[in-house]
């Protein structure tokens, strides 16, 4: 393998790639501090994570305890968000539900990212027919509109929260693969990869030790924005009765229950929906901020 520097075509090197890690982190933090919206997003997400961790301490009631004498009570000092048709405290259920809804979102994105990153790295690094085959498979997965691929998977595996996680994760694989492939193509042309290869490093080491750490920025941005979509999709599938099953306090399931009482007790549907919306908003704002922070063009 030659170490010749090819000069016919200028190689566009994103600044984020050639900067040392510390300065990248410092740049990122300083931009994030300026980007107030992203800070708001981060605070929202941290708030939800706090709630999920401390739900047993924060929840005033047992989320599963049925108290029929308290059913359909509107919001009051005793029950801040009211009670549902079985007398369960809605606030407590939402607090506990954050574990399920966020857990499914994180697990689905982790699943999608894991396979997407591997496919993207392999396709981008090896190119040629390996790239063609992998990316055509990804194209096929993207040919399914919206959550229909997830629906097909659930119809085969059966409704459950774990299957929703797999289905929503599968739906994210091609999106990660595309982004990772693009970034890999960019990085593998850089001289340092040639240098490492000439030192005798094998493909595995080059891909995972030298390329992967340098393409993390777009993966993190995509991951954050995918979290928003994954949480929405998973809640939507549970809303349809295809994910978490009652009496689970999963937000989509709670909303589905609230639909039956829209006329008499609209607050049953109101609060779980608000919980989802604010969390998804947090991820979207934070994702937007991350994108700006990682984008070299935004640096003045």
């Amino acid at each position: 393998m030659s170490l010749e520097v090819k000069t016919e075509q200028p190689i566009v090197v994103p600044q984020s790639i050639i900067q040392p890690k510390e300065s990248r982190l410092r740049d990122f933090l300083s931009i994030m501090m300026v980007n107030k919206a992203a800070m708001v997003g981060a605070i929202i997400i941290l708030f939800y994570i706090f709630i999920a961790i401390f739900a047993p301490i924060l929840a005033p009631y047992d989320p599963y305890e049925i108290q029929l004498e308290n059913k359909l009570m509107p919001p009051s000092f005793e029950h801040w968000m009211g009670t549902d048709d079985k007398g369960r405290d809605i606030l407590s259920r939402i607090l506990y539900g954050s574990r399920l809804s966020m857990g499914v979102g994180f697990a689905a994105v982790a699943f999608g990212a894991f396979f997407g990153i591997i496919f993207g790295l392999v396709a981008g690094y090896y190119g040629k027919w390996v790239d063609s085959i992998i990316m055509r498979i990804m194209d096929v997965m993207l040919a399914f509109p919206g959550i229909l691929l997830a629906l097909a998977i659930i119809s085969a595996l059966g409704p459950s929260l774990i299957n929703v996680t797999i289905a929503v994760g599968a739906f994210s694989v091609p999106l990660f693969a595309r982004i990772v492939r693009g970034s890999t193509l960019e990085v593998k042309r850089l001289e340092y990869i040639d240098a490492i290869r000439s030192l005798g490093a094998n493909d595995f080491t080059i891909i995972f030790k030298h390329i992967f750490p340098n393409i993390l920025s777009p993966i993190i941005v995509q991951g954050t924005l995918r979290l928003a979509t994954a949480i929405l999709s998973a809640a939507g599938l549970s809303f349809l009765g295809l994910g978490a099953q009652p009496p689970s306090p999963e937000w989509g399931t709670m909303l589905s229950n609230g639909r039956d009482f829209l006329f008499s007790a609209p607050y049953i549907a109101l609060f779980p929906g608000m919980a989802i919306s604010i969390l998804v908003l947090g991820f979207n704002i934070f994702g937007d901020g991350l994108r700006d922070a990682f984008d070299p063009r935004m640096k003045k």
Partner: protein
Amino acid sequence: MLMFIIRRLVQTVPVIIGVTFVVFFIMQLVPGDPAVLLAGEGASKDTIEAIREQLGLNRPLYVQYFDYLMNLANGDFGVSLKNSQPVLDEILVRLPITLELALFSILITIVLGMGAGIISAVKPYSMQDVGVMLVALIGISLPSFWFGLMLMYFFSVKLQILPVAGWDSLLHVILPALTLGAGGAAIVARMTRSSMLDVIRQDYIRTARAKGLRERLIIYKHALRNALIPVITVVGLQFGALLGGTVLVESIFAINGLGRMIVDAIRMRDLPMVQGGVLFASLIFVIVNLFVDVFYRFFNKRIELN
């Protein structure tokens, strides 16, 4: 242009075959023996064997897949396990409703989205820009199934000016179409704004301004035309999300379209119906994407130059 269309059509064929492949093999993931499932509980071994023979389930998988493809080519999407009717018949009854809903929704996506995007881009970083973009960000984050329920509560239960559910008149269309179109509108608004801002910074817009053309003319005649080209792709992609979204919206508003058919079929474990519905919706999406690409190519001369 003709070569492009032909090339694009040829490229679509493997994608369509790939989609049929994925749908076929996902159904192989169903736990348990389909013949046993079909025969029902307590069926005799002979009955199960007969069903297996009848459906060709005892043949190798690739033969089954090839047969499946051949059947699809002949318009045979299988038979519903629940009412023994051809799946395609049911799809064709439901499809017009879903397409109608999708078209009204995409109209809302385009009009609301582009309108909001233009309003934002004309005065960037102003209060109106920040306000519109904030609403768009919230729009992207709202779960459609919750937004739909809240619209239903407000307009149908409280104000009682729109029907709660069903699909009988134009009034029935408003809430479902708004529910389905709002998320896409928010995405299109963001895209239109950033695309407009990119174009407005171009030299030819500065030239137009230097010539003393009226601002309105510059925005609507010179900037908008070019800014809309990338937006077209986003609208095309939104159509896919929208088709997927009909599943939720049709369930909320009790609309007997393709989306609700798929959900009901999953609940009743009617796998051929799920298979047919998902496949058909995907085929529509692939074809819409094809049109969007051709449309994009037609309007974007720059691609040709490159």
